[in-house]
């Protein structure tokens, strides 16, 4: 309402925000050295759904390629337009060279989208003779399993990663992980599938089929025969038979599955691998990220750091939300404007100019630095980028107002075109509409500051729990990324340790 309201409220929360800023991450994740290091052979981007994992993976791949490395990006579920722009919208399960990449540094970017079923089929074809492969591929159980039930996608992503790595055609493989219900599925599923594939159950299922049905039952102990009996009852005899045939046909491949799953797992633990946990500054996403960080540590997997996407900044973060709202209310209050004919009442707002401009309402605001009197850079100008931004408290403008007092007297100050005149009726209307707009801008700013504070609180909670994790923040983009230019931009933001504030007019 009144400027006093702003004065009262601006102190407390502002101090709180400054406090939050001091909790900056102990370590900053430096992306470029990671990408440039020839020792880095695999980067795995993981995190919960909807945090920009795929975009991050693609942007890292592009950046590494344009910095001279031969890169392949394995994506799972890219947005259609992004896939199209990279030329990987057709599913053929082999890496494609991406056009439009700056190869002046000698790098290349290849990309592929994972086709789960195809990957599974290829394993079968590669490891079984033609007849057996045909039997497996035609088995209804196999068809359901390979088409994507829980775990298959994660397993196949790992499988494909292992394949790409063993080809040794690329300097760097960047992997996007499946949009699982939880980020941990990516680590859990392969083990689960692996332990199933050479587990006891398989032996039980396998036994009757191998020895020819009922006759073989004698050789099994009673407990086991009961198991198959129960499974048969629950699932239906035909289904069980399908499973058994499938398992029998796959039998020769089990060793291979297990061995490769183990090999890929070891590959992930190897020094050439770097995990990046991707998150957004939201409670749920960071909670998932924290789980994942703990899990990676427990599994001895090398974590490079946290990519925090969609972080908001403000070029005017010294103006607190409370103060911006108070000022907006001030501008929108029609009573003041009407009473005093134009801006007079507002101009008299006490904490701005103190008493210096009370007599001549407009003149205080008019002098837009007369030509020649170049704006003497006030101390604040240079400190605007300072790490501990001061908030606009009521003291600061007053100090500034004092330094301005000589200017109104300067001849030629009124030469400013748009506001040199006294408020006539149309001018008053214009001023009101400008005030309304300024109020809107201030409300928008207040909203931004609230968002900023919330994001900081969320992030700080994570940092407090995991001070060892290096963080890079990526400034929020207004829209989605559809093309290489957009990816390049994200790459730059990834490599810049702190979010660049939006360029004016950009």
């Amino acid at each position: 309402m009144s400027p006093e309201a702003g004065k009262r409220t601006s102190g407390g929360p502002a101090r709180h925000q400054e406090g939050a800023r001091r909790l900056a991450p102990a370590r900053v994740l430096d992306v470029d050295p990671l990408l440039d290091d020839p020792q880095t052979r695999i980067v795995v981007c993981c995190g919960s759904g909807g945090v920009g994992k795929t975009t991050t993976a693609a942007a890292l791949g592009l950046r590494a390629a344009e910095r001279g490395r031969k890169v392949v990006v394995l994506t799972i579920d890219p947005a259609r337009r992004l896939a199209q722009s990279m030329g990987i919208d057709s599913l053929d399960n082999t890496p494609r060279r991406v056009k439009g990449v700056d190869d002046s540094a000698g790098g290349e970017l290849h990309a592929m989208m994972l086709d789960m079923k195809r990957t599974f089929d290829e394993i079968v074809e590669a490891h079984a003779d033609a007849d057996r492969a045909a039997a497996i591929l035609g088995n209804p159980f196999y068809q359901s399993l390979s088409a994507g039930f829980a775990g298959t996608q994660e397993y196949m992503a790992m499988e494909k990663l292992g394949q790409l790595r063993s080809k040794d055609e690329w300097d760097l493989i960047v992997v996007d992980t499946p949009p699982s219900r939880s980020a941990l599925d990516f680590l859990d599923a392969p083990k689960r599938l692996g332990s199933f594939l050479d587990g006891k159950l398989i032996r039980v299922l396998l036994a009757p089929a191998k020895v020819g049905g009922r006759a073989g039952m004698k050789f099994l102990n009673v407990g086991m025969s009961m198991m198959t009996g129960v499974l048969g009852k629950v699932l239906g005899g035909a289904f069980l038979k399908d499973v058994q045939t499938f398992v029998a046909a796959m039998d020769s491949m089990f060793g291979g599955f297990r061995t490769r799953a183990d090999a890929t797992y070891k590959l992930l633990q190897a020094p050439g691998t770097a995990f990046l946990v991707v998150a957004a500054p939201e409670r749920d996403a960071l909670r998932e990220a924290a789980y994942f960080v703990q899990r990676l540590a427990a599994e001895d997997m090398p974590l490079a750091g946290l990519v925090l996407n969609r972080v908001h900044g403000s070029g005017a973060d010294r103006l607190s939300a409370e103060r911006a709202l108070a000022a907006a209310e001030n501008l929108e209050d029609p009573r003041i404007v009407d009473q005093d004919g134009g801006k007079a009442g507002v101009r008299n707002s006490p904490d701005t100019y103190g008493s210096s401009d009370s007599a001549e309402p407009t003149s205080g605001a008019t002098p837009d630095a007369a030509p020649g009197s170049a704006p003497a850079p006030s101390p604040e100008t240079t400190t605007s980028e300072a790490p501990t931004p001061e908030t606009l408290t009521s003291e600061t403008p007053r100090a500034e107002a004092a330094s301005e007092t000589p200017t109104p007297e300067a001849p030629g100050a009124a030469a400013d075109t748009s506001a040199g005149t006294r408020a006539s009726a149309p001018d008053a209307a214009t001023a009101r509409s400008v005030d309304a707009l300024a109020a809107g801008l201030l409300r928008l700013h207040a909203e931004r500051m609230h968002l900023l504070a919330r994001e900081q609180r969320t992030r700080d909670r994570f940092t407090a729990r995991h001070p060892e994790v290096a963080v890079t923040e990526v400034a929020a983009l207004p829209g989605d990324v559809h093309d290489l230019a957009g990816l390049r931009d994200v790459g730059t933001r990834l490599a810049t340790s702190l979010p660049e504030l939006p360029e004016p007019g950009a």
Binding site: G49, P179, G236, A238, F239, T352, S378, S384, E404, L444
Partner: protein
């Protein structure tokens, strides 16, 4: 109003929040609603600020007007053991199966068994009646898997009924499908006003329709308040910077001349307005895409203080106001 309300949406759109708010809204005025979680994330417990939910229906909230919300986190493994116990009286044998890895197999690897159990349990709650022949729950709200998997998840019973051609799993699957494809069920999709979620919503609806699953509504979540409208954005372009600086100065924000506090606010404020304008245009575009889907469309506001229990009640009230519940 359908008694089984399935809520899906792309990851990160807040489908759990919307499902919870919907359950609260439906329970208002003395009704009973069961909120079901199927993905084992304990998102409901976090939302209602309670300890992790067991595999047991328990009351977690009281809705305005004396209604009750119960919650259940369905655990596929326990559901299977339950089920075996129910049909086969398997006590120790169930444990033996577990030891053997059969339960693990059935609930994680075997195609669809897990999903059959999850949807089966939810449908059982829909059909359950008390001693007086009244439904145990007026509504069952399911926090379902994300849009990319929802059709497969709900349709799994069809698939399994095809795989297991006889036997109790087959029968169970058929019974579940009868509920899911009836008017008793409505599948809602939660989205944001962003390109990818909207695209996924459109794809998801096409898939659901192709599978003849009943599509309910599209709920746009976390809609940001409109601070500036098209006229304001036009004015942003036409208003001289100096005039803005003077206006800000007049509001008590410092000097208007170059280098003054108010003057230095102009550029960043205009930059923020520029971003806002860009996003505003993109949002309008996505809104058009959603409108073209020809489904009931609802919008829920972004809660500026972040999501908490109070916010959940706020969203529930909003849902009632919009006539969803």
């Amino acid at each position: 109003m359908s008694r089984l309300q399935v809520v899906s949406g792309k990851g990160g759109t807040g489908k759990t929040t919307v499902a919870a708010a919907l359950a609260l809204a439906l329970a208002t005025e003395g009704k009973r609603a069961l909120l079901v979680e199927v993905e084992g994330r304990q998102g409901i417990a976090q939302l209602f600020e309670t300890e992790a939910l067991p595999y047991e229906e328990r009351k977690i909230a009281v809705a305005p007007g004396g209604g009750e919300v119960y919650a259940l986190a369905i655990d596929a493994e326990l559901a299977l053991l339950d089920y075996l116990q129910m049909f086969y009286k398997l006590g120790s044998a169930g444990r033996a199966l577990k030891k053997l890895g059969a339960i693990d197999f059935a609930t994680t690897v075997a195609p669809g068994v897990r999903d059959v159990l999850l949807t089966g349990k939810a449908c059982e709650a829909v059909r359950r009646k008390d001693r007086h022949g009244r439904f145990a729950y007026d509504y069952v709200v399911m926090d379902a898997p994300p849009t990319g998997r929802i059709t497969r998840f709900l349709n799994v019973n069809d698939e399994v009924a095809g795989l297991a051609k006889v036997g109790p799993i087959h029968n169970q699957a058929q019974a579940v499908m009868r509920v899911l494809k009836s008017r008793e069920t409505a599948v809602h999709l939660v989205t944001l006003l962003e390109e990818m979620p909207v695209q996924e919503t459109a794809d998801g609806i096409a898939e659901l329709r192709a599978a003849r699953l009943p599509v309910g509504r599209v709920v746009v979540n976390m809609v940001r308040p409109q601070v500036l409208d098209a006229t304001d954005l036009e004015r942003v372009r036409s208003t001289p910077r100096t005039a803005l600086a003077r206006s800000l100065s007049g509001a008590g924000l410092g000097g208007a001349r170059r280098g003054g506090h108010a003057e230095r606010l102009v550029d960043p404020l205009l930059a923020q307005a520029g971003e806002y304008g860009e996003r505003y245009a993109l949002e309008q575009e996505q809104r058009t895409v959603l409108t073209d889907l020809d489904l009931p469309l609802n919008e829920l506001p972004l809660l500026t203080e972040g999501m908490d229990l109070a916010g959940l009640y706020e969203l529930a009230t909003e849902l009632r106001k919009q006539g969803i519940a």
